[in-house]
Every structure is written in structure tokens, then in C-alpha cells.
């Protein structure tokens, strides 16, 4: 699966060096043509400045604004092992919905922190959001090491501050790396200025990430999207966990009916298996009732069918969320009304200050631990077990909140 590009999101406080980092990455990996580099050099010298890596990204964006077509290979770059693509995640708090949208598509995240300024408001908020999204592959970059004379003590103290903070928000960083984007230290090229640092460069760290953490031994769950009757009845959906195979015995949820997969159907093909993530059609040996939102499950290990669960949510609606107010819950292909029946704790996502326990509302950009009750039972699992059945949005007219399920409260036995 190495030909699949790794999608990367870079977050952090404004001016902590994201643009410069991207410019440096494109430059050091040879992703820019000689002519482009020369053009930028000329522009910078016309401005009486040193060659600025930060300008590279501005330049690309500006050319796009002017309607000059630029293909995104410019925000792609390669190592010898794989291709990478950078997802833009704007920093300003006004664009939080754009940031979370972008981050939700990423395979891996980079948090960039200015060595002089340390962890700031946006750093915290962004890291919090990454934690909410269940981001597993995180690299922290301590940037502008050149400005603090590559001082080991300062690095160690920020690293410690970082680890404390990340633990509080339940986010694991695989690497914490001292870099200087502007000088090039430890971005792609190993730095000679930090002999006390024994870890990998940023580039090496990313190359070590394995995209395919598909656990094929996970129990089967197939989420139904629709039913077609073009020439024959085909149930279409997506394998959200495990592998779907012809002749698999399955339990249909929420009804509990049992049957067997008779065939897998693609246009002009009938494969004998479908892996996690695959969208496919199926037919069953028995005529069972099912509809969008139903799940076909491994009969021996079924997800919960329940109306109550605990979750972490991030509220991003100007109008505050009021306890016990109906709102739409969407998880995988399911959609029902629900209510937040208890708000256990509510935290300001910038300051990480606790707003209160057992409160009655959640305001814009606050993070809360809640208990939700749905109007009718839903088929869910803890996010840590099956991400696609453990992540959801709360919707009024548009998405008001994103959330992940931390604890399922079974209100009836699963159908075995």
C-alpha cells in the first residue's frame, strides 16, 4: 500500500513557522523546479530580503488566487519511500471549522511550536482537536531552535511542558524533534547543531509511519448505505471493520435476524472478499428486511444496540448547546434524534480551563464530556474499538459538533 500518499495536517500557533516549514520541505525534497526557486530568490532580493521559505507557500497560494492553474504536486512531496500531501488547516480561530474539516481527513498530524514562545493558545486548541479526532500519528516539532542558540535546556523544558500537556488531553506524540525550518536543521537534513539530540529528523519520523494499520482480524461490520433494484436487489454499503467474505454467516442489526452472504457484487465483477474500507454490494441467502443504517455483523462479536453512551464532543456552533434539547445524531449511515442528558465537564479549548462540572450548556469552541440518549437505539462501539462506529456529528441545520464515543451504556442485550 505504499503508493497511497500519506495525508498530513500541520497545526500550531500562528507565526510558529508553518509556512516556513512547508517551504523548507518542498525545497529540501527537490519538489520545486530550479526556475521556481530562482523566481523566489529574485523576488526576495528585490525586497531586500534573504531567501524566504515562508514566501514559497504564499507564492503558490497567490498564483492560485490569480487563476493561474497550479497543480497540487506542489503541495505534494516525496521521500524515497512514499508520497505525502499536505492538507491545509488554517490557524485562525475564525476558521476552526475549516481546520477541523481538514484535520479529520489526515492520516498524521504535525504540531509546530516556537522554541522561544512555547505552547500558546492555538497550539492547545489544535492539539485538543487532534485528540478529539482520535489522531494516532503525531509529531511535535520544536521550531526556531536557531533563535535560542540550539539550547538543550530550553528544548528539554519545552519537551517536558509538551508531554504534560499532551497527557492531559490524551494525545500521544510519537516524536518530539528540535528543528529550525528557516535554517533547515532536522527537517530533511540532519542537524549538526544539536549533537545532544539522538532521534530522527522530521522526514525520517514521517517515513516511519505505517498508514496501513488496518486490523484485518477485527470483527466484521458492514454498514448499509442503500438498497438498489436495477436488475436485481443489491444491498450496498461499506465494510467498516474486518473483512467481508462470500458465505459469511452474519447477524443483521438492529433486528437480530441471521443469514449468510450469498454474493458480493461490483459492476461486472463478483469478488469473493472485500476488505475494510471497501464499498460493495451484497446479496443474502435469506430474504431479510434491512435499510440504510442497518449493520451486518459477525454473529459472535456484535456491536452494541443501545440508546445511551458517553462521549467527548467539541461544540462549534455560535449558539450554545443546551442540555436536553433535541438535536440530530449521525454516526456512519445512521441518523436519529438525540439529547445530551448530562454534561459531566466542560473545558475551554484554548486555555484548557475547566468551565464547570455538571453544567447546563456548552458554548462555542468548548470541549465537553457528555452522556447522550438517542430517541431510538443505535448501533455503536467505542471509538477505540471501531472508529467508524464510534465517531459522530451532532447536526441542527449544519454540523454543530463532532464527537467520539468513549463508553457504550448497553440498555439491552446485544442480539446473540
Amino acid at each position: 500500500m505504499e503508493d497511497i500518499p500519506l495525508k498530513l495536517v500541520i497545526v500550531g500557533h500562528v507565526d510558529h513557522g508553518k509556512s516556513t516549514l512547508i517551504g523548507r520541505l518542498l525545497f529540501d525534497t527537490g519538489s520545486l523546479s530550479k526556475d521556481k526557486i530562482e523566481e523566489i530568490r529574485q523576488i526576495c532580493s528585490a525586497l531586500g530580503k534573504e531567501f524566504e521559505f515562508g514566501y514559497i507557500l504564499d507564492n503558490l497560494e497567490e498564483e492560485r488566487d490569480q487563476g493561474i492553474t497550479i497543480d497540487t504536486t506542489q503541495i505534494f512531496f516525496n521521500s524515497k519511500n512514499r508520497q505525502y500531501v499536505i492538507i491545509d488547516a488554517p490557524g485562525h480561530v475564525e476558521f476552526i471549522k475549516n481546520m477541523i474539516t481538514g484535520a479529520s481527513q489526515a492520516d498524521a498530524a504535525v504540531i509546530i511550536i516556537d522554541a522561544e514562545e512555547g505552547i500558546m493558545e492555538q497550539t492547545q486548541r489544535h492539539a485538543f482537536i487532534l485528540s478529539l479526532l482520535g489522531m494516532q500519528k503525531v509529531i511535535v516539532l520544536i521550531n526556531k531552535m536557531d533563535r535560542i542558540g540550539y539550547d538543550q535546556n530550553r528544548f528539554t523544558s519545552i519537551k517536558k511542558e509538551c508531554l504534560n500537556f499532551l497527557t492531559r488531553i490524551n494525545l500521544d506524540a510519537q516524536y518530539i524533534i528540535p528543528i529550525s525550518a528557516i535554517k533547515g536543521d532536522n527537517v530533511v537534513i540532519k542537524s549538526v547543531n544539536v549533537p545532544w539530540y539522538e532521534g530522527p529528523t522530521f522526514f525520517e519520523a514521517m517515513d516511519s509511519f505505517d498508514i496501513c494499520s488496518v486490523v484485518t482480524k477485527a470483527p466484521l461490520r458492514f454498514a448499509i448505505q442503500d438498497i438498489y433494484n436495477f436488475s436485481k436487489r443489491i444491498i450496498v454499503g461499506q465494510v467498516v471493520s474486518g473483512t467481508l467474505r462470500q458465505n459469511d454467516a452474519i447477524t443483521v442489526l438492529p433486528s437480530g435476524e441471521k443469514t449468510q452472504i450469498r454474493s458480493l457484487e461490483e459492476y461486472q465483477k463478483t469478488p469473493d472478499y472485500a476488505e475494510t474500507g471497501k464499498c460493495i454490494g451484497v446479496t443474502t441467502t435469506d430474504k431479510i428486511f434491512c435499510d440504510r443504517g442497518y449493520i451486518f455483523s459477525n454473529p459472535l462479536d456484535t456491536p452494541a444496540v443501545t440508546s445511551q453512551f458517553r462521549a467527548n464532543v467539541f461544540w462549534m456552533d455560535k449558539a450554545p448547546c443546551k442540555k436536553d434539547t433535541p438535536i440530530i445524531f449521525r454516526c456512519s449511515t445512521q441518523e436519529v434524534y438525540c439529547k445530551i442528558i448530562k454534561i459531566h465537564s466542560c473545558i475551554n479549548s484554548s486555555s484548557l480551563k475547566l468551565i464547570g462540572n455538571d453544567v447546563n450548556e456548552i458554548s462555542n469552541r468548548e470541549f465537553a464530556q457528555v452522556t447522550i440518549r438517542t430517541d431510538s437505539p443505535v448501533i455503536i462501539e467505542e471509538f477505540s474499538k471501531t472508529p467508524k462506529l464510534g465517531r459522530f456529528v451532532l447536526v441542527k441545520e449544519n454540523v454543530s459538533a463532532g464527537g467520539i464515543i468513549t463508553e457504550v451504556i448497553r440498555d439491552r442485550d446485544s442480539c446473540n
Binding site: D35, L47, E62, I87, N398, V399
Partner: protein, 267 residues
Amino acid sequence: MNALDVLENESIYIIREAYKEFKNIALLWSIGKDSTTLLYLIRKAFYGQVPFPVLHLDTSYKFKEIYEFREKWAKQWNLNLVIVKNNEALSRKVNPFAGDKLTCCGELKTEALKQAIREHRYQAILLGIRRDEHGVRAKERYFSPRNNQFQWDYKNQPAELWDLYKNRESAHEHIRVHPLLHWTELDIWSYIQREKIPIVDLYLARNGKRYRSIGCEPCCNPIPSDADSVNKIVEELKTTTVSERSGRAQDKEQAYMMQKLRSMGYM
């Protein structure tokens, strides 16, 4: 699944979601390589059917090869083809030669689409837009709402998390669905190559030139190229993407560079 399989899979999911959630939906088919790829994916998603109308915004100035291709494949694929024309503007002789191409596009394409949406009350439109045409920005959404005036407040868009897409339009709104958003130009050509998708032969080189994008004949300019087959186009894209940009850079004049600087607030 390899990289193209993953892209194909994600697009099919989006197409099936849009069809399920919006009863009144249509595909905008420009007859170009991207929307033809999208049409091909739609046929895969629905087991050989295209169960909704296919709109062609016909300015009447398209290449004849485009009209021929359209007629041939609409018949072969049994499409419910709806030809959309802004007859009112055409009767006023709006055309691309009168000078202002922006106005011509606006009237013959954008206005025509607005009229079609109003007339048929489409709730959602499928388009072959890709991110690398509009920039890699998180502001692009797979399901993107537009108001009556086709306006779009990109600073205030709804969030779109994971694969949970907007499935209800508000009043006075339609939703643009972009199943190819995450595909690059190279991905499109690689997929065309793999699946042997038919494309208008204007894309293939003749006499040292080929069209990289096709639309209305008066406004399209070919690029120098010897790639006279899909295989050669894929090779060309793989090896020359970097130098294609440098070609443009060499054409730039001093004045243009300064204009850019000014617009960026650098001076």
C-alpha cells in the same frame, strides 16, 4: 486496494450518499476528462445505470469533437441527457469574440446552470471539480452548499467531518457534490488508462500539440506535446510536472512579478 482503488472507492461512496440523500439530483457533464471519469464512476456505482439526468451546459461554441462524443456516448450509455442553453443570451448574440470572455462564460454557462436549477429544482448537482484546480485548502468541501446566486461564503462554511456529509439542503440552497475532489490530474489520467475510459481525442497530440483542458473552441489553447496516446500522457505528466510550471515562469516579465508583490502586500 492500491492508491487508485482507494480513490475510486471514496468517490463511489460519495456518489451513493448523494443519490440516497437527495431525490432530485443531476450530473453536470462538460464532456471533459474529469466529468467523463465521474460519469464512468457513476455507472460503476449504480451497476451500469445512470439513474438521474446528465446536464450539458451547451454554449454552442464547443469543439465539434465534443458534440460528436456527447451524442455517441449518451446513446451508448443510455443517458437522460438534458442540454442546457441560455437561449435568451444567445439570441442577444452573446459570444466569446465580442471581447469580454468573463461575461460570455457568466451568461452562457453560469446563468444557464442557474436557470436549469431553478426550472428543475435540483437539490444537488454532481461535479468533477478537483482540489488541485482550486487549491489545496480545507475550505473545499465534498458537499458544498450554494445559495441562489451561487454564492459561497468560504469563511463560514459548515464543518465536514470524516465521511459524514451534508445531507439536507436548506431553503434557497442547492448542494454541490464533488466526488473527485481529492484526485490529481495524474490520478485522473492513470485511472483513464487503467479502466480504458473513452475521452475526446482533442486531449491527444496532433501535429505537436494537444489540449490539456477542453471547453469552448474559441477560448482553448493547446500546449506543445507529442503525447498522442493516454499512456504517453501519463508518462508526460509523471516526468514533466515540475518543468511544466517552469515553462510559465520563464514567460514572466519583470512587471508581472512586481504586480504580484504588490497584490501580496509585500510592497
